[in-house]
């Protein structure tokens, strides 16, 4: 057993910079401590270990942030990131929700990853990522602090995403001058990517326009064991066993991985054929063991006649977008910027 582990560790150390390896291995270690075999989660230790940062109304590198409680009942917080403008290099702290001034301002609703159980909007890794997106896309980013599993199972995360979407859509201060509408994009990584899909579905049902979906290493799965799951199990930070654990923690008790939340185009899935689904940008890491499910998702969208662009990053592992020290990072960021900028 130790022998094969040696091989694994050496392999994944070869494909990422050392500090990335340290970062992701650290998460892997910490997360191993938090998942209990009985399906419960050590939430206190999780919150203790998570590195968080406060919001900051003072601009740093041209971005400032503030938290907003958008639903008291569920204590739903969002963290809003805004760029400073040439006219106003220092934001008015008394009016953080000042109307946006540009003709077109993309508003990216971001759902952080963590396999539905980990992390928060104020986790340092996601605060950093959201700040990047602001500059990259000249956008306002709204990061949703959705309720997590196993304490809050399906559909809580989707409900919170939906609440956030409605809230964003109804903010006059987020409307682009051009058409007095809010130009909404949904983005997320891992479980956040999964949430993007499901919230987009709800948006269509309710007539709210979403201009685009960005799914970074989205979390999908199914009962069947795919080739990538066999080949990559345990090789690059992630095991099939932990994937199974997280689905058991999120899905309703008694449901299996062919539940439509997990497998949106599977046996219990909902077709998106003939509906006005947003265009999608799907990023798949070539060393992610669930890539077959992610690729199946892309196929599902294509078959339904939906616009989708796949970015397959061959040598990328999970979490490659957390540190700007690799080519995949820059390639993906460029694509995101084009994807969002294309309707200005």
């Amino acid at each position: 057993m130790a022998r094969s582990n040696e091989v694994n560790l050496n392999e994944c150390k070869m494909v990422v910079p050392l500090n990335t390896w340290v970062l992701i291995s650290n998460f892997k270690l910490a997360y191993n401590l938090l998942r209990r075999p009985d399906g419960t989660f050590n939430r206190h230790l999780a919150e203790f270990l998570d590195r968080k940062v406060p919001a900051n109304a003072t601009p740093v590198d041209g971005v400032f942030s503030f938290d907003v409680l958008i639903d008291r009942g569920t204590s739903l917080l969002t963290r809003i990131y805004r760029p400073v403008t040439a006219e106003e290099p220092l934001p008015d702290v008394a009016e953080l929700e000042k109307p946006v001034t540009a003709e077109v301002v993309p508003v990216i609703i971001f759902f952080h990853g963590g396999s539905f159980a980990h992390s928060s909007a104020n986790s340092a890794i996601y605060d950093t990522l959201c700040r990047r997106l602001v500059g990259l896309c000249k956008a306002v980013v709204v990061s949703v602090n959705y309720r997590r599993a196993p304490e809050n199972r399906y559909p809580c995360a989707y409900d919170d995403g939906w609440t956030a979407l409605k809230w964003v859509n109804s903010r006059p201060w987020l409307q682009s001058r051009k058409d007095s509408k809010v130009h909404i994009y949904l983005a997320g990584d891992s479980s956040g990517g999964n949430i993007v899909h499901h919230v987009a579905l709800r948006a269509i049902e309710s007539g709210i326009d979403v201009l685009g979906n960005i799914l970074l290493n989205p979390m999908f799965g199914g009962e069947e064991r795919t080739e990538s799951e066999h080949n990559l199990d345990g090789k690059y930070f992630v095991t099939l066993r932990d994937r199974d654990w997280y689905w058991r923690a999120y899905l309703p008790e008694g449901e299996d991985r062919d539940h439509h939340a997990c497998n949106p185009f599977g046996p219990n899935g909902r077709s998106v054929e003939g509906i006005k689904f947003p265009k999608s940008l799907v990023v798949v890491a070539g060393l992610d063991l669930i890539q077959d499910w992610q690729l199946a998702y892309v196929e599902g969208l294509k078959k339904a006649g939906q616009e989708v662009k796949l970015l397959y990053m061959e040598q990328a592992t999970i979490g490659f977008y957390l540190l700007p020290n690799n080519n995949h990072f820059h390639a993906v960021m460029d694509e995101i910027s084009r994807f969002v900028g294309s309707d200005c």
């Binding site: 057993m1 130790a2 582990n5 560790l9 150390k13 070869m14 494909v15 910079p17 050392l18 500090n19 390896w21 340290v22 970062l23 291995s25 650290n26 270690l29 910490a30 191993n32 401590l33 209990r36 075999p37 206190h44 230790l45 919150e47 203790f48 270990l49 590195r51 968080k52 940062v53 406060p54 919001a55 900051n56 109304a57 003072t58 740093v60 503030f66 938290d67 907003v68 409680l69 958008i70 008291r72 204590s75 917080l77 702290v93 008394a94 009016e95 953080l96 929700e97 104020n122 340092a124 950093t128 602090n145 061959e314 040598q315 540190l323 700007p324 020290n325 690799n326 080519n327 995949h328």
Partner: protein, 614 residues
């Protein structure tokens, strides 16, 4: 193994396991390192020196291997029993877990680490907070309490939420308290960790992570005094106009345009009436404070003591801030007093002594029996010439008697903590008596007079304390510019008032608001030596303590968890949260940190603790 280098970025770390490859090209994409710390990881909250990266990677590998070789249950103790400290310091954190595996951790004669901790772990709370009267020492019912038998009090004590004895594991991290090596009965001798080695690595990284006078930066490289955390809890149109009016008025005051300021203050009054809830109250207090500043009607200073006591007590009952403060400080003190036969707490914030019953009970229930407990309570003089401090001491003495703790008390009246000298305190030799210094919401007042804080630091050092526990507001209310202070305070107190809204209504809440309103008045209307509510942020306090020659005593995951569970008991508890910050604990409302508990020790006082005496 040949790899396609096109996809690899050369790493500036010379000890990287990657092949040499193209180190030229993309190097400029990386940010310059700071103090040798890996800048990219630092932004994400992890302090790892670039030169240590390979070693840290190795530790991760070692841990992975160990964890694979052991059954699932074998590592579960790492989550349930092990107490974790300062996860930002990856190297030390990993090392402490590795040490768990060689040898097994528990040569622990007093069972403080709790062999049955796994059971205690999640089912810690025995029930609802029925016994809070005991730990808050409800003075009005003092007679009734006195009638209870000692036995009953013990039973209640063991179910109290503030029962520190039942907390498994250690609260604070001290690299000096090593399990005494093996004179003994320890059967597991095959994997003995070398204590010197462990001491070396941890104390080494301590001074690296907390070097003497650092620049004023917050955790992740952002200058501390410019972090402004804001949470908007009331996103309504009216609220905005009110805030604008308040800001405009403050600006007019700043510019000494008093006519405009006066007009605006009146306007605020009208706007406030139409507002609901917390915002109305906050606006009213700020408006009043502004009016006082404009008309130079400074509040009578100081406050009548009995009223101030009453307000304090209501604040204690209504919301968790004081309870959190007392709870976390007590845990750290209890831990620091481990193994000591005689202990002395010097409390800079005596008030009604509400912090001490819980600690005393925990000491009483200590395996092996309680230490002799001496308390020196320091407080301002009372106006009615009543010996207020002595009365408090007397009540605590009665409690001590019923729980069989040897107790000595002295009350000390002082206008300012800076009036204290170590010689006044009847300090006894360190070998005989261990000292803890405690200050809850008092230290910032010293910043009103030049030199006062330095005097107090030096006096504290002379006390040679095992631990100094500090609780302070997490806010920047001491900047040089009035308008900035005003803005900060407006956001801070808005958040604080919002947190009160969900709690019990009526008398308690109103009193708590008045209590806070007095602070608002001081921050906004007063200046010079009268402005005592000079709150500063953790980063600023950290700088002050390290410059004064103190090193941090880390609070760990155990204290974090217990504090979190405590918060869950409060009505409207959902919004409260505890956050760990480099060994300190912060209590916040909807992710906005509001108060911080930190612990310190004089840096030269790092002699290993004496052998366990019982």
């Amino acid at each position: 193994m040949k790899r396609d280098n096109n996809h690899l970025q050369p790493n500036p770390d010379p000890s990287s396991s990657l092949g040499g490859g193209s180190s030229a090209g993309k190097a400029k994409l990386w940010v310059e390192e700071d103090c040798g710390m890996d800048e990219l990881l630092a932004v994400l909250g992890y302090k790892v020196k670039t030169s240590d990266m390979a070693e840290v990677a190795q530790k991760l590998e070692q841990l992975e291997e160990v964890m694979c070789n052991v059954q699932d249950d074998g590592i579960s103790h790492l989550a349930s029993e092990t107490v974790h400290f300062n996860p930002s310091d990856l190297s030390t954190w990993l090392q402490s877990m590795l040490s768990e595996f060689n040898p097994p951790s528990s040569f622990d004669p007093f069972g403080a680490a709790g062999t049955t901790a796994a059971a205690l772990d999640d089912s810690f709370l025995c029930g609802p907070a029925e016994s809070s009267t005991l730990s808050t020492l409800d003075f009005e019912n003092n007679n009734r309490q006195h009638q209870k038998s000692g036995q009953q009090i013990f039973e209640e004590a063991s179910c109290s939420d503030y029962d520190l004895k039942a907390i498994p594991g250690k609260a604070i991290y001290s690299p000096n308290t090593q399990p005494p090596t093996h004179d003994s009965s320890s059967s597991s001798t095959h994997n003995i960790v070398k204590p010197e080695k462990r001491l070396k690595s941890t104390s080494g990284s301590h001074s690296d992570i907390f070097p003497p006078p650092p620049p004023a930066t917050a955790a992740y490289g952002i200058p501390s005094d410019s972090i402004r955390p804001v949470v908007l809890v009331d996103s309504q149109e009216n609220g905005i106009r009110l805030v604008h009016a308040l800001m405009a008025c403050a600006e007019a005051v700043q510019q000494n345009n008093l006519n405009l300021a006066e007009a605006l203050v009146k306007q605020i009054g009208f706007l406030a009436i139409s507002q609901a809830g917390a915002m109305r109250k906050v606006a009213t207090y700020f408006a009043e404070a502004l009016a006082r500043r404009i008309y130079r009607l400074y509040p009578q200073n100081p406050l009548d003591h009995s009223l101030s006591d009453v307000l304090h007590m209501h604040f204690y009952e209504t919301c968790p801030y004081l309870k959190f403060a007392h709870f976390t400080a007590n845990q750290a003190i209890l831990e620091a007093f481990e193994g000591k036969k005689r202990v002395h707490v010097i409390d800079f914030s005596m008030n009604q002594g509400m912090q001490w019953p819980a600690l005393m009970q925990a000491l009483a229930l200590r395996p092996g029996g309680p230490p002799a407990f001496r308390l020196t309570g320091i407080g301002p003089p009372s106006h009615d010439n009543s010996d207020h401090l002595q009365e408090v001491g007397w009540k605590l003495a009665q409690l001590a008697e019923t729980i069989h703790v040897e107790f000595e008390y002295r009350g000390f009246v002082a206008n300012s903590l800076a009036d204290l000298d170590a010689s006044m305190l009847d300090l006894r030799p360190t070998e005989v008596e261990a000292v803890a210094v405690n200050s809850v919401f008092e230290l910032h007042k010293l910043l009103a007079r030049p030199g006062a804080i330095d005097k107090v630091f030096s006096v504290v050092e002379q006390m040679r304390p095992e631990i100094v526990t500090i609780v302070e507001q997490e806010a920047n209310h001491n900047g040089p510019v009035f308008l900035d202070r005003f803005t900060e305070a407006l956001h801070y107190y808005s958040t604080l008032f919002d947190s009160l809204e969900g709690s019990a209504s009526g008398q308690d809440k109103v009193m708590s608001e008045v209590y806070l309103g007095k602070q608002i008045c001081n921050v906004v209307a007063c200046e010079g030596v009268d402005r005592v509510e000079r709150h500063e942020s953790l980063t600023q306090w950290r700088n002050r303590f390290t410059s004064a020659g103190f090193s941090p005593v880390l609070l760990g995951s155990n204290a974090f968890k217990q504090a979190s569970m405590l918060l869950a008991l409060f009505a409207g508890g959902d919004g409260y949260g505890v956050e760990e910050n480099n060994g300190c604990l912060m209590l916040g409302w909807h992710n906005r940190p509001l108060i911080t508990t930190s612990a310190w020790k004089p840096a030269n006082n790092t002699s290993p603790t004496s052998t366990i005496t019982y």
